[in-house]
């Protein structure tokens, strides 16, 4: 699991060499060709699509777990399937139509696409919007128009009694929809949905979101939150100002400060870009510095084991895509092509039936429907990048 890209290359070379020798032939003189990452990504995505088709329940949902009935999970599957590389088969189109119908039927009076009382309404709605929008069919326009004000109502601003100075841990961020708390995870999903609906950095809403996003970054130069002035100035991001999800680390003075980590840092980069930050802005410069020091496709850096790994892959792929970056310089002459690295690693973790599942239960990633949806979305982005590079 923790094997890096180079180690992977080595082990492949070794495997080929051993294989050749066992066959009694001479070892190849030239290093073996790298596998074609685009072909690997496409093949893995195709297997994932087949897996979901085999898991279709007929009611628009996929898979057998209880979470599979959640509109959030259905939405992620639809989004992953809709963006999958290659031509859409009639069977897949039919499954997508069915699933979209399932989501549409769950829209509430207030515009939310969610099961009332089950919580996470804003996540559900944002994901459903991304899914329906990805189907690119005008018949969903009315549903999407009705969902938009609901998502906007989850943003914590003056209308909700939030004040920029007094409520500096929440102002401008998006929350669960009911809990009246904001976090970067809900914010990244909300901004994705709103951007898909045509909003951009010139809106008041995105400007307010930027206030929140900047305050989640461990970057003393641009973060005005007192509790964030004592960090290590690493450029990484947290769940919300002053709080992470993976505990603390020591700052230079030996004090415990919340530890930034990968999935939130990639989410932070994408949000900054959506909110209009330029590549040379101090926020993005600092964030990329963190990424260069923590570049990893095998785990969520700064996290714990494989917790949240598949969520991480999506955040990773979306951030590089939003930044229009194909390759990053890791220093010491090393470069990393994120889409290739992601595709090769994710394909390796795919189960024979085309699914993925996380060993770590946290955030429900041990559920194959959810993990496979995340993995497919990440592969979709990687495949698009690799196809564009040709």
């Amino acid at each position: 699991m923790r094997m890096g890209q180079q180690a992977w290359g080595w082990s492949l070379a070794l495997a080929l060499a051993v294989g050749s020798l066992t066959a009694g032939e001479e070892a190849p003189a030239a290093p073996p060709a790298q596998p074609d990452a685009a072909a690997v990504a496409n093949a893995a995505a195709e297997k994932a699509v087949k897996y979901f088709l085999s898991q279709a329940n007929g009611d628009g949902t996929f898979g057998k777990s209880m979470a599979a009935k959640s509109p959030g999970v259905v939405g992620l599957v639809v989004y992953g399937l809709a963006k999958a590389p290659g031509k859409r088969s009639p069977e897949l189109q039919a499954a997508l139509d069915k699933a979209a119908g399932y989501l549409v039927a769950l829209q509430q009076e207030n515009g939310a696409i969610a099961v009332p009382g089950h919580g996470l309404e804003n996540y559900m709605t944002s994901v459903a919007v991304m899914a329906l929008k990805a189907l690119n069919d005008p018949k969903y326009d009315a549903v999407l128009a009705k969902a938009k004000p609901y998502i906007l109502s989850s943003q914590l601003t003056a209308a909700q009694g939030y004040n920029k100075d007094e409520h500096y841990m929440a102002y401008g961020g998006f929350g669960y929809g009911g809990g009246k708390r904001a976090d970067l995870s809900n914010t990244t999903f909300s901004l994705d949905a709103l951007k898909a609906l045509g909003m951009d950095e010139n809106s008041e809403e995105f400007k307010n979101a930027l206030v929140f996003v900047r305050r989640t970054q461990d970057n003393t130069e641009t973060n005005d939150v007192p509790a964030m002035k004592e960090g290590n100035n690493s450029g990484g991001f947290l769940y919300f100002p002053g709080t992470g999800e993976f505990g603390t680390e020591k700052n230079r003075a030996g004090k415990d400060v919340p530890k930034p980590y990968g999935n939130m840092t990639y989410a932070g980069i994408k949000c900054l870009i959506y909110c209009g930050a330029k590549p040379d802005s101090p926020e993005l410069q600092a964030a990329w510095r963190w990424i260069k020091e923590h570049y990893d496709v095998t785990q969520n850096p700064g996290g714990k084991g494989s917790e949240g790994y598949y969520y991480y892959l999506v955040a990773f792929a979306k951030a590089f895509t939003a930044a229009k970056v194909n390759e990053i310089d890791l220093g010491d002459g090393k470069k990393a092509a994120w889409a290739k690295d992601l595709a090769l690693q994710v394909a390796k973790l795919q189960k024979p039936d085309g699914s993925w599942a996380n060993e770590a239960e946290r955030w429900w990633e041990s559920d194959p429907t959810l993990a496979t949806a995340y993995a497919l979305i990440a592969l979709d982005y990687a495949a698009a990048n690799l196809a564009g590079g040709k």
């Binding site: 959030g72 089950h118 996470l120 409520h167 500096y168 809990g179 708390r181 709080t243």
Partner: protein, 365 residues
């Protein structure tokens, strides 16, 4: 998807508990579900949690603020108006004399103490003046017998419930006057059925169970007969937990005979399903008081009469999870002592669950 407890409650019940003990994640999710519900009761128009008449009491708002600040998510003012506005509401209710109360509503000591405890829990220097004024007021509610009374109009004779509540707040607000705590100790000794340490002549006839009751010679749970058939105030769980915590806050050590006797009663009568001795009356007050008392006494496992052992935090958490409503709140169908109010019950339950979560997390390490 990440984050919050309602998801677990709603969707993943099937992934339920392990065979032994309650799963830590489920306790955490239940605490999140409770906090989210409480926060959703916050109304920007009124600035307080809840909409009932009872919810207007500043003490209830203070209790809600405190349990949220003690929550594993460490709620504080910068997180939103649901923290800042109830605080402003509390400060607005502070009277010239330092009490925090609504004129004519009574419960002056409770309101001032619980509101003060909420303010103190936030550790915000902005409230220093309000805190010292409230502290000064509370001291005027300490009766000559060392117990705390309801406040104005009730200068004579304290009761254990007001006393425990006042002591907890004073301690949290940094009260250092040893005389206050010494006097309180003398009072608590007089409401405990413990012959060795209760100085009252009438108390010498008690069954010597170690349990505590409401006032000297008076229980809210009726009477028990001693060996000679004489009626005697019946000890019960909430007051015995209050006595134990009150003793420890007032400076007694774990090996003091009063403390040992109270622990003996709470162990012998341990229940996570009712307020022992009082049935469902005051159940949520009891679980909150018990969790605080056991935490203060640094007790983790208790030995039951039948030779079995129970991890009290596990037992309390299991019951609280089972009683939590789908929406995240708790309420007592037995309405005594205002426990028909879900904001109050949820605050008590969350106060207990916060402690259970800390205990279970520590036990897992």
């Amino acid at each position: 998807m990440r984050g919050n407890g309602t998801w677990i409650c709603a969707l993943v019940l099937g992934w339920a508990a392990a065979a032994h003990g309650v799963e830590l994640d489920r306790v955490k999710s239940a605490a999140d579900g409770g906090a989210n519900w409480l926060i959703e009761q916050f109304d920007l128009k009124t600035g307080i949690f809840g909409a009932s008449e009872v919810n207007k009491l500043p003490g209830i708002q203070g209790l809600a603020i405190r349990v949220l600040s003690e929550h594993h998510r460490k709620y504080s003012e910068p997180l939103g108006p649901f923290m800042t506005e109830p605080v402003k509401y509390i400060l607005k209710q502070q009277q010239e004399d330092g009490s925090i109360r609504i004129e004519g509503q009574g419960f002056d000591t409770y309101n001032t103490a619980l509101a003060l405890h909420g303010l103190a829990a936030l550790k915000n220097p902005k409230y220093t003046d309000a805190i010292s004024k409230a502290r000064a007021y509370l001291l005027t509610a300490q009766s000559k017998d060392g117990g705390f009374t309801y406040g104005y109009g009730f200068r004579q004779g304290g009761d254990l419930s007001n006393t425990w509540c006042a002591l907890s707040s004073l301690k949290a607000a940094g009260e250092k006057d040893a005389k206050v705590f010494e006097a309180a100790l003398n009072f608590i000794r007089r409401v405990q059925d413990n012959i060795e340490t209760n100085p009252d002549a009438e108390a010498k006839a008690g069954p010597n169970s170690g349990g505590a009751y409401y006032k000297p010679g008076q229980s809210e749970a009726g009477t028990v007969k001693n060996r000679d058939g004489v009626e005697f105030p019946k000890p019960y769980g909430s007051m015995t937990a209050a006595a134990l915590d009150g003793y420890l806050q007032s400076g007694l050590k774990a090996d003091a005979p009063e403390v040992q006797a109270a622990l003996r009663w709470l162990t012998a009568n341990f229940s996570a399903t009712e307020n022992p001795g009082a049935g469902m009356n005051g159940y949520y007050y009891y679980v909150h008081a018990l969790a605080r008392a056991f935490e203060a006494a640094q007790v983790t496992e208790i030995s039951l009469g039948d030779g079995g052992k129970v991890h009290w935090a596990d037992a309390l958490a299991t019951q609280l999870l089972a009683r939590q409503k789908r929406e995240g709140f708790w309420v007592n169908e037995t309405t005594k002592w205002m426990e028909s109010d879900p904001v109050l019950c949820t605050a008590y339950a969350l106060g207990a669950l916060n402690i259970c979560y800390k205990q279970l997390k520590a036990a897992k390490k």
